[in-house]
């Protein structure tokens, strides 16, 4: 349609008048005043005015002025209508006005843009100037938003405060208002952040800081945590209801800092309700809450883990002290203490897996705590020794009492392996364990399954080298059975029969596997000598190039003693048997005679004589009949002895070899340190002192914690032996001497 060509050009004056009229009508409509809506013709008419004015030939082409007019209309509306209305009101009413006029403005801009649409298509596009919508938004921003945002923000924050204190507020209103802030950023969040969010966060900060101060005074730890959790929940809800989602992380961090981080120490260390108390009293819910709250904060769990570690250490230390106090006459009750430690471990491991969600930080804390008190000595016994004794007792008991079900033993074994992990002197444990294992194996007090089970578990945890000797001992016992059968066959066939009618069993031990034992030049009774000789002959046939070393101290013997009343079978050690047999040929012997005849050491003879003449059963009469053995005593076979039992076991108390074990282990450690130092220097060639020491400690840490002084001494020794030398330039560095 080209009706415009025949028309008179519309002047600016006329055009503007028509436009103003349309705008007046528009404003009445959108302000809700009674006014009939635009008819389609009117709508098109308005559009056409603009259109015509734009396409008119110069000098009547009015795109520029029309663009200006558009801006002016909106500006006038903003300044003269919108802003005054808002300024009249206060508080929540003001917010409503703002919200209302914001919506109206949007509609206004939209409608007006439709009227002036033609400008958008050509004039604006051609000139690269802001679009009609942008002009509309900018206008509102500059003439309304900039003037009112401060007050609006104040009202909003006041309302939020009201809500925090428990009152109901109009959330939808706040959402609209805050949305306004966002929109007035016109593409970025700056207005929202600077004009609202920053103030909001500052207010939040002081709010929660105040709350924290008062709650921490009044509330117990669990109560406080519940309040903290509640607060965080509410603030997150606040975001979803009316704050912009960008605010959430800042808000959460703010609340956490105030409620949880700055008071962490006070909270966790609260007397009677803090971390320690909760652990003690099994308050799993509260502990889980504590974990949840602090887990959300970066590095927040650290103070909790520290509190955990301190508590567990304190518990452990008190167990140690209890045991120390209870250790009368220097004897420790290992069974009780170790059991208690195992229980403690189970209890706190449960916390780690449940409340603390298996977090590595807590595993570490538990480990550190146990490492502290598990390495303390009790009444002179090291933890390594105590643990070995504990195992020994458990196994001996289990071997005797078959009713003990295997699963408890198995779980005890698991616990032992776990505890061993915390003990730094693992090599010391191994040595004590080996000594006790030897006694168990040789005196028949063991269950094969249990022994095998613990060795497998120890091997799995600490490597084959740790258990190789013990495994060897087991193998020896196995082979021993076959060996004995072979020996008995030999006796039968060789027609020698039992030497002097004595039943004789030999167990052959491989030297490297078993603990070292002293040999003694005991003079055996003739009957025994024959046994020894016959086995020697047998063994020579079986294997060449092997030397047998007889350890009589480990043997035992069944003797029949013919007392006047009745014969009684005595189960005694070889040494005891030798002493008793001496009385086969003489009624009475002095101590000196016994020493000469038997060739025992004084220490051993005293022990043996004591067990036979001063203990529960007096097979020998001692003259004088005092309680201790002296070198001037003399002894006589007590033919008058009798007992209702037909069979008596006479225990010979084992010598306390703790000192020897410690010495042996120290010696091995020296070699281990030497080997480690040489190994390190061989590969590194040149190394500063401190690094050498720390690498050495690291290498050996699986077995024991080396003493720094000992390492230094070994280094000096290696220098003297020309393995290492000091660097001439730098005396703190060592060089490997090839």
């Amino acid at each position: 349609m080209s009706f415009s060509q025949n028309r008179e050009p519309i002047t600016i004056e006329d055009g503007f008048k028509l436009i103003d009229a349309a705008v007046t009508k528009l404003t009445r409509i959108i302000e809700g005043k009674p006014e009939p809506p635009f008819l389609p013709e009117e709508y098109i008419g308005n559009y056409t005015i603009v259109y015509n004015m734009c396409i008119q030939k110069p000098p009547h082409d009015s795109s520029g002025p029309l663009y200006e007019k558009y801006g002016a209309i909106l500006q006038a509306y903003d300044k003269l209508t919108i802003l005054p209305s808002i300024m009249e009101k206060h508080d929540e009413y003001m917010l409503r006005e703002v919200s209302r006029w914001w919506e109206i403005n949007k509609i206004m801009v939209r409608w007006l843009s439709h009227f002036f649409y033609y400008l958008d298509r050509y004039y604006i596009a051609r000139n690269g100037i802001p679009s009609l919508t942008v002009v509309g938004m900018t206008c509102f921003r500059d003439h309304v938003y900039e003037k009112v945002h401060f007050n609006v923000k104040q009202v909003v924050i006041a309302l939020i405060h009201k809500e925090r204190e428990g009152q109901q507020i109009d959330r939808a209103l706040l959402k609209n208002v805050l949305d306004l802030f966002v929109q007035n950023g016109m593409g970025n969040m700056e207005r929202y952040e600077k004009d609202f969010e920053d103030f909001f966060l500052t207010e939040t900060n002081s709010y929660y800081s105040r709350k924290a101060s008062s709650w921490i005074q009044e509330d117990s730890c669990p109560e406080y945590m519940i309040k903290a959790e509640e607060s965080l929940k509410k603030e997150k809800e606040r975001v979803s209801h009316y704050l912009h989602s960008d605010t959430e992380p800042k808000l959460v961090a703010n609340v956490q800092t105030n409620l949880l981080v700055s008071v962490a120490k006070q909270l966790l260390e609260k007397e009677n309700s803090g971390c320690s108390a909760l652990l003690r009293d099994d308050k799993t819910d509260d502990l889980s809450r504590m974990y949840r709250l602090y887990h959300a904060i970066p590095q927040g769990l650290e103070p909790v883990a520290v509190a955990f570690r301190l508590h567990v250490t304190a518990e452990g230390n008190s167990l140690i002290k209890q045991a120390e106090d209870a250790a009368t006459s220097g004897i420790v009750e290992e069974q009780v203490l170790v059991r208690k430690i195992i229980d403690l471990h189970d209890k706190y491991m449960a916390y780690v897996t449940d409340c603390f969600q298996n977090h590595t930080l807590f595993h570490k804390s538990l480990k550190e705590a146990f490492e502290i008190f598990c390495n303390k000595k009790v009444a002179g016994s090291s933890s390594a020794e105590m643990l070995a004794t504990f195992c020994d007792n458990v196994f001996k008991k289990a071997a005797n009492d078959k009713s003990n079900d295997d699963s408890t033993i198995e779980s005890t074994i698991d616990n032992v392996v776990k505890l061993l992990d915390y003990i730094s002197d693992k090599d010391l444990f191994a040595e004590f364990y080996r000594k006790k294992l030897a006694r168990r194996l040789l005196f028949g007090k063991f269950s094969d399954d249990h022994e095998r089970s613990i060795l497998t578990k120890l091997k799995g945890q600490f490597g084959g080298q740790f258990t190789s000797q013990m495994e060897g001992m087991g193998t020896d016992m196995q082979l021993g059975k076959d060996q004995q059968t072979g020996f008995e066959e030999y006796l039968k066939n060789a027609n020698t029969g039992k030497p002097k009618g004595v039943d004789f069993t030999v167990t052959v031990l491989t030297t490297g596997f078993w603990p070292s034992y002293k040999t003694s030049d005991l003079n055996l009774p003739l009957e025994m000598v024959n046994c020894i000789e016959s086995f020697k002959a047998y063994y020579e046939i079986k294997t060449k190039h092997r030397r047998l070393m007889w350890i009589y101290s480990l043997g035992n013997c069944n003797l029949t003693a013919r007392f006047d009343a009745k014969p009684i079978e005595l189960i005694v050690s070889t040494y005891q048997a030798a002493v008793l047999c001496a009385f086969n040929h003489t009624e009475r012997l002095t101590y000196q005679e016994l020493i000469d005849q038997l060739n025992l050491s004084h220490e051993d003879l005293v022990r043996v004589l004591h067990s036979l003449s001063c203990a529960k059963y007096k097979f020998l009469k001692k003259d004088p009949a005092s309680k201790t053995i002296s070198k001037t005593d003399s002894f006589e076979f007590n033919s008058k002895f009798t007992d209702k039992m037909r069979r008596i076991k006479v225990p010979l108390p084992p010598v306390d070899d703790r000192k020897k074990v410690v010495e042996d282990v120290d010696k091995d450690r020296r070699y281990a340190i030497d080997a480690s130092l040489v190994r390190i220097m061989k590969s590194r060639k040149v190394l500063p002192h401190q690094q050498l020491v720390s690498e050495c400690v690291e290498q050996l840490s699986r077995m024991f914690k080396p003493d720094i002084k000992m390492i230094k001494k070994r280094i000096e020794d290696l220098i003297t032996r020309d393995y290492l030398e000091r660097d001439t330039e730098n005396p703190n560095t060592f060089k490997y001497v090839a």
Binding site: Q690, I708, K712, I715, E716, T720, P731, T733, F734
Partner: protein
């Protein structure tokens, strides 16, 4: 060809002519007259049967030089001579030392001693001298350490004038402790470093975590306990 053989003939002539010419190639050329005087001096103190100056001779030498025979300067003289065996000077060693000192009479030797001392105390030389002092006391072939008593005396002689306090304390410590019956070269050298690097008796710079010999760690600990 002919010329060189003539030259070499000349040389071999000169070699056989006098033993003292062996020293002609040395840094300080002694004239044969000087060498004679040096030898003459040697003979004054040497034991005629062994052709060595033995302890007796050294004692006499010391009294003639008016220097106590436990004085460090005699040790320095031994060092200059590169003497191998404690208590004895061979003729070669004697010649070496005195030639280096340019002393062919007793008075010149006496005058040379302060200069010698200055030379030894120069930092570049002292460490060498210090190590030499230790080695000088090793009497057996495979010996690597020296007993405590000898060490104490040696410390006094070698370090007494410069580090009196350290020596006194260390000697006291060595005498009362039981861990060490002998001191080896590494520990000996450590003491020199200790005196030079650590202030005494504050010892604030001392750090037992460094590679100081363990005996010094114990020594420092002992002093700290005493001071407490």
């Amino acid at each position: 060809m002919r010329r060189s053989s003539a030259a070499s003939k000349k040389k071999s002539d000169s070699i056989t002519s006098s033993t003292t010419d062996l020293f002609r190639s040395g840094p300080s050329k002694a004239t044969s007259k000087e060498m004679d005087r040096i030898d003459h001096l040697f003979n004054q103190y040497a034991n005629t049967s062994s052709n060595l100056i033995d302890p007796e001779g050294i004692e006499e030498l010391c009294s003639n030089l008016e220097v106590p025979h436990t004085d460090i300067r005699i040790l320095m003289l031994a060092w200059k001579m590169k003497a191998e065996k404690q208590g004895y000077f061979t003729q070669e060693e004697w010649r070496r030392g005195l030639k280096a000192l340019r002393a062919d009479t007793l008075s010149k030797l006496k005058k040379a001693l302060p200069e010698l001392e200055k030379e030894v105390r120069r930092q570049s030389n002292f460490a060498d001298f210090y190590a030499y002092a230790f080695r000088y006391c090793l009497t057996e072939e495979k010996q690597k350490s020296i007993d405590i008593e000898t060490i104490c005396q040696l410390l006094d002689i070698v370090m007494g004038s410069t580090f009196r306090a350290q020596v006194d304390y260390f000697v006291e410590y060595l005498k009362i402790q039981n861990d060490y019956k002998v001191i080896n070269m590494d520990q000996w050298m450590g003491f020199d470093r200790f005196c030079n690097e650590i202030s005494f008796p504050e010892m604030t710079e001392y750090n037992p975590e460094l590679a100081w010999p363990l005996v010094l760690d114990s020594f420092v600990e002992w002093i700290s306990e005493k001071q407490a």
